[in-house]
Amino acid sequence: MLTARFDYHRPNDLDEALQLLAEHGEDAKVLAGGQSLIPVMKLRLAAPGHLVDVNRIPGLDGLAEDGDALAIGALVRHKAVERSEMIRDRYPVMAAAAPMISDPIVRNLGTVGGSLCHADPAGDWGSVMLALGASVIVRGPGGERTLPIGEFLRDTFETALEPGELLTGIRVPKPAARSGGTYLKMERKVGDFATAAVAVHLDLSNGTIGRAGIALTAVGPKNIQATDAEAHLAGAEPTDDVFAHAAGLAAQAASPVSDLRGSADYKRHIIDVFVRRGLARALEIARAA
């Protein structure tokens, strides 16, 4: 399948990229891994007049802790996250999610930043970043701004990015010393989008729960932060009853639709079960830390 015609630009640095994006405004799209954008263009669901290929811009592929946060450059591929020992050791939610994204070949090209900008409600990174309380760094003609991920992800395929702006990085707060988390995903086969999935993160302080992060994938118009469930957990004892109640609240926060992958009731049930399982796993990791 051919995409519609477009002009291809390959800037060598960030300034050049921003200039091109400013010049072409809404008619421009950023090409990073291309693993969502190109399929969408082939199906003619998108037909941008200009593609700005940012793959050759140096300095956007960093994945390292920096001060009180993990800094993820816009060009960090899923595979880099999957292979990182630092991620495996300290960011269990990300470590669990990375190998479940699409398939290994797609993960060689697809990027974390691109996935967030695509804002697919079935995207996995959106939930991971909500659970971890991450922020995104955006640059545009007016300079740089930092937004909490919850403000960035607005709606289905819609973010807070203005025309002319580029996501340059993501910042994930360093988790507390005693913390844990995971990502649980129900998929029909490797490479399929989630039927439903959950990202869970817990901080422990003196045996009680500090901050809890719970976010849901593919059960609403965007990745959903289960704020009632989080509030129920914060400050509570980590018991099975508390987890079960939080899971029920998370299932209520979901608004799935029935489709080929399952009925709305089934998906809500998956959320309930996965949040309970995810919390138990997060607690196990936190206690072992």
């Binding site: 015609r5 390959r10 291309g34 399929p39 290929d53 290994p104 070949i105 060689n108 090209l109 490479g191």
Partner: protein
């Protein structure tokens, strides 16, 4: 747009529309029809090639993105008239039935063996999980990749004069 891509070790130039997919660049502009088009929707992996040694789906990348980079297709596996060990192993282990997925499977297998010369069944199955064999001949694909790994290890040991 004028681009130069190193394909199977040789620099090739082409003047292409930016929207031309890498798979069409390879098949139609460069005549390398060993790279197959299956689903054209990033699902089946029949069009897998190596970009700077890493497997990518060539239906989900524009040819212009490969400008200045190295692409390996199935035609590049053989050298000096000798089959690559992965090709020899696919032949020996009956790793192909209809052959449609084979070029992509062999390239992914070769890339896996560079990272992991002795992959387990799970390692191979994981590596090829983005590719579909419509004959469902996965068992022998897995065996073939592992056999190629053993053959390559024996070759290396032989070259180094190691006996076991």
């Amino acid at each position: 747009m004028q681009i130069t891509v190193t394909v199977n070790g040789a620099e090739r130039t082409a003047d292409v529309e930016p929207r031309m997919l890498l798979v069409h660049l390879l098949r139609e502009e460069l005549g390398l029809t060993g790279t197959h088009i299956g689903c054209d929707t990033t699902s089946c992996g029949a069009c897998t090639v190596l970009l700077d040694g890493v497997p990518v789906k060539s239906c989900t990348m524009f040819g212009v993105q490969a400008d200045g980079r190295e692409v390996t297709t199935v035609e590049g596996l053989m050298s000096n008239g000798t089959l690559h060990p992965i090709q020899a192993a696919f032949k020996e282990e009956h790793g192909l039935q209809c052959g449609f997925c084979t070029p992509g499977m062999m390239l992914t297998g070769a890339a896996l063996l560079k990272d992991n010369p002795t992959p387990s069944d799970d390692d191979v199955r994981w590596a090829i999980s983005g590719q579909i064999c419509r004959c469902t001949g996965y068992m022998n694909i897995v065996k073939a990749v592992q056999a190629a790994g053993r053959a390559m290890a024996a070759e290396t040991a032989g070259a180094a004069g190691v006996t076991s």
